[in-house]
């Protein structure tokens, strides 16, 4: 028998745990984790401390997957909210087709993985002492830090619009109270009113989101307030899944006819970026000529940037988003700090919930590997986005990515959007698959 020291054994056993846990074949994960935990506890060898800032689709997934891969790593998750409301499927809530309760998720699920959940706001990162400070004054040491703060808004880009005004004219681009507010306004609106949606310039969270929102609000209005209209003022000349949305709007909401429920105005057609909001007059000003539009309900989706903690900690570049190593998601500006989800620049992945979840797993395992002095190989990334255009009308976009020339590159010949000539039956099926995706991914993130 070769002689090994106890220290060597722990290191190697932890590596074996990773293999066992991931392939999960012979012993149950629980049994093996328990075995390693007992050995590690006895020897006092902790593989490392990871702090995660942000408990959304990115952060919660990363925290869980680190613990699944290596339970000897201590994980602390810092998230101010006691409950997370998913932006995804919140458009169904706006349409009255889904309850708020169904997009609400707590953190008890994560606690059972032995993740320490701290409900406070992370206010500072000291990359020299490797400490995170929270609003309550607590500090947390880390060997590796994952920052998954989501988005913040470029309030300064729109005159007359800020956090305070948003309490009257919602963005609902962070779900929760904002979702409820916008829904209440839609319910209160009289028949014949106009709903204005301001769609921001690229890049922003959830590229098809504003158009799914328009679709589902149209679905609601068609049933309850059929004389009403939706006006999309777009900063962009084209948008995600445009062909499919246009076709769906034609089939369901009279798009292209005089009775169209939805009007989409890009810059070239008198629309453009909303540059000013007059809350008192319930008017917005859009485009180069600042054309004035009035609405009974106004939904401003402002231009975006990385979440505040990332900006304050010098993790963003001139784009307002965080540059990263696209394999490990480590910041290119600070060592041992990783950025995932909306806040990072993971081109060509879009800023989506699925992308954050996919990135989180790659980041988590990169960190586990790194703490063991190793590296992951060539990662595989995935994004799938469902959009609901009507009650029985769903479409999707998918992409499988590999790392190529430091770009997260879609595999050629794969991916793409739902076909334009799909059958009625297929559009129906995609709605059920969208609902299934929602159940499965939220269980993966929070369960």
């Amino acid at each position: 028998m070769p002689k090994i020291t106890r220290r060597q054994f722990i290191k190697l056993a932890a590596g074996t745990t990773a293999a066992y846990t991931m392939v999960g074949s012979i012993e149950s994960q629980a049994n093996h984790s328990e075995k390693v935990r007992r050995i590690v506890e006895k020897r006092g060898a902790i593989q490392g401390k990871v702090v995660v800032i942000g408990g959304g689709a990115g952060g919660a997934t990363a925290a869980k997957y680190i613990r699944k891969a290596d339970p000897s790593i201590e994980v602390t998750l810092i998230e101010p909210k006691e409950y997370y409301y998913t932006c995804f499927m919140s458009n169904e809530v706006l349409a009255g087709e889904r309850a708020m309760q169904s997009i609400k998720f707590g953190y008890d699920g994560l606690a059972k993985y032995g993740i320490k959940v701290v409900h406070s706001l992370a206010t500072g990162i000291d990359s020299v002492t490797k400490q995170v400070t929270t609003q309550s004054g607590e500090t947390f040491n880390y060997d590796r830090l994952i920052v998954s703060p989501g988005i913040d808004f470029q309030w300064e880009a729109i005159e007359g619009y800020d956090e305070r005004v948003a309490e009257q004219i919602p963005h609902a681009w962070q779900a929760g109270q904002q979702t409820v507010l916008l829904r209440q306004q839609l319910e209160a609106m009289k028949d014949g009113g106009t709903v204005i949606i301001a769609s921001p310039p690229n890049p922003f969270r959830c590229p098809p989101g504003p158009y799914e929102r328009a679709s589902l609000i149209a679905h609601y209005l068609k049933q309850h307030k059929p004389k009403s209209k939706i006006l999309i003022l777009d900063a962009k000349e084209k948008f995600s899944k445009q062909g499919l949305f246009t076709q769906g709007w034609q089939e369901l909401y009279g798009y292209g006819t005089d009775n169209s429920m939805i009007e989409w105005l890009p810059p070239s057609q008198g629309g453009g970026e909303v540059v000013r909001v007059d809350a008192k007059e319930m008017a917005v000003y859009a485009g180069d000529f600042e054309d004035r539009y009035r609405g009974q309900v106004i939904n401003i989706i402002p231009p975006q940037k990385a979440g505040k903690i990332a900006v304050d900690s010098g993790l963003v570049d001139e784009t307002g988003w965080c540059p990263i190593n696209k394999k490990t998601f480590e910041s290119t500006r600070q060592p041992d700090i990783h950025l995932i989800g909306d806040a990072c620049t993971a081109t060509k992945m879009p800023k989506s919930g699925y992308a954050a979840n996919s990135q989180a797993k790659i980041c988590a395992l990169s960190i586990v590997a790194s703490l063991q002095g190793k590296e992951i190989g060539n990662p595989s990334y995935l994004n799938t986005c469902y959009s609901l255009i009507g009650k029985d009308y769903g479409v999707s976009v998918a992409a499988v990515y590999r790392l190529q020339d430091n770009m997260i590159t879609p595999v050629e010949g794969a991916g793409g959007v739902s076909p334009m000539d799909a059958s009625v039956e297929d559009r129906k099926r995609e709605v059920l698959y969208a609902q299934s995706w929602f159940k499965n991914i939220t269980d993966d993130i929070f369960g």
């Binding site: 070769p2 797993k361 190989g377 059920l432």
Partner: protein
């Protein structure tokens, strides 16, 4: 003594993970991408996206190949399958074949399920063994699969947009000729009603139940 015990444990561990540790993380990342739609360890929480756990490796690989070639109809899987190599299909198949098929309670009509059980015994059990619990030679796992998914698949088979083995086509035609198209729905309810975690061989045939091969061709 203690060193020996650790060394044994270590050696067994190393033997089971003979591939470099890095690739086990890569495998985890690869299959991790499927979880978002197909559920924890491949057991979907529904309502429609199918569970992909517990299949034989060949069945899994063949399904992915058929999606990739456009031979099996899908809404999204063709676009996704095209993103992976043959080797990746095999890695996924190996992983998911070892995961348990976790079954959930679905809304089942007991009458339909009962009729479906009779139909299954007569027309399907021969290849879809053990009341559809056992995947054998590509039969897949039907018992406890999400009912909308079963319904989609049967509709696609029936409409001819998805290919089936000649034997299956013959039996399905026989069944629909004798029992009508409602027989498909009855089968769906039967399979959806199956939530056992243990699989038993179905030995209790009613005396007047028989396999459809026993029918004369004029039936």
């Amino acid at each position: 003594m203690i060193i020996k015990k650790y060394a044994l444990l270590l050696a067994s561990g190393l033997m089971l993970s003979t591939s470099a540790w890095a690739t086990d993380w890569d495998l985890s990342i690869l299959v991790g991408n499927c979880i978002g739609c197909h559920g924890p360890e491949g057991s979907s929480l529904g309502p429609a996206t199918p569970t992909i756990a517990g299949l034989e490796e060949d069945t899994f690989v063949e399904a992915m190949e058929e999606f990739k070639e456009g031979e099996r109809p899908s809404t999204i899987m063709e676009r996704i399958a095209k993103g992976y190599t043959q080797q990746e299909f095999e890695q996924m198949a190996s992983y998911f074949s070892k995961q348990p098929f976790v079954r959930h309670t679905q809304e089942v009509d007991a009458q339909k399920a009962k009729k479906g059980h009779h139909l299954h015994r007569k027309y399907c059990e021969k290849c879809h063994e053990d009341n559809g619990y056992t995947d054998h030679e590509g039969s897949g796992i039907l018992a406890g699969q999400w009912m909308p998914n079963l319904q989609f698949n049967l509709a696609d088979f029936h409409a001819g947009v998805r290919n089936m083995p000649r034997k299956m086509k013959k039996r399905m035609q026989k069944m629909i000729k004798r029992y009508g198209e409602n027989s498909l729905e009855n089968l769906v309810h039967f399979y959806g009603s199956q939530t056992r975690t243990d699989v038993k061989r179905d030995k209790d045939h009613d005396s007047d139940d028989h396999d459809s091969d026993d029918d004369s061709d004029s039936d």
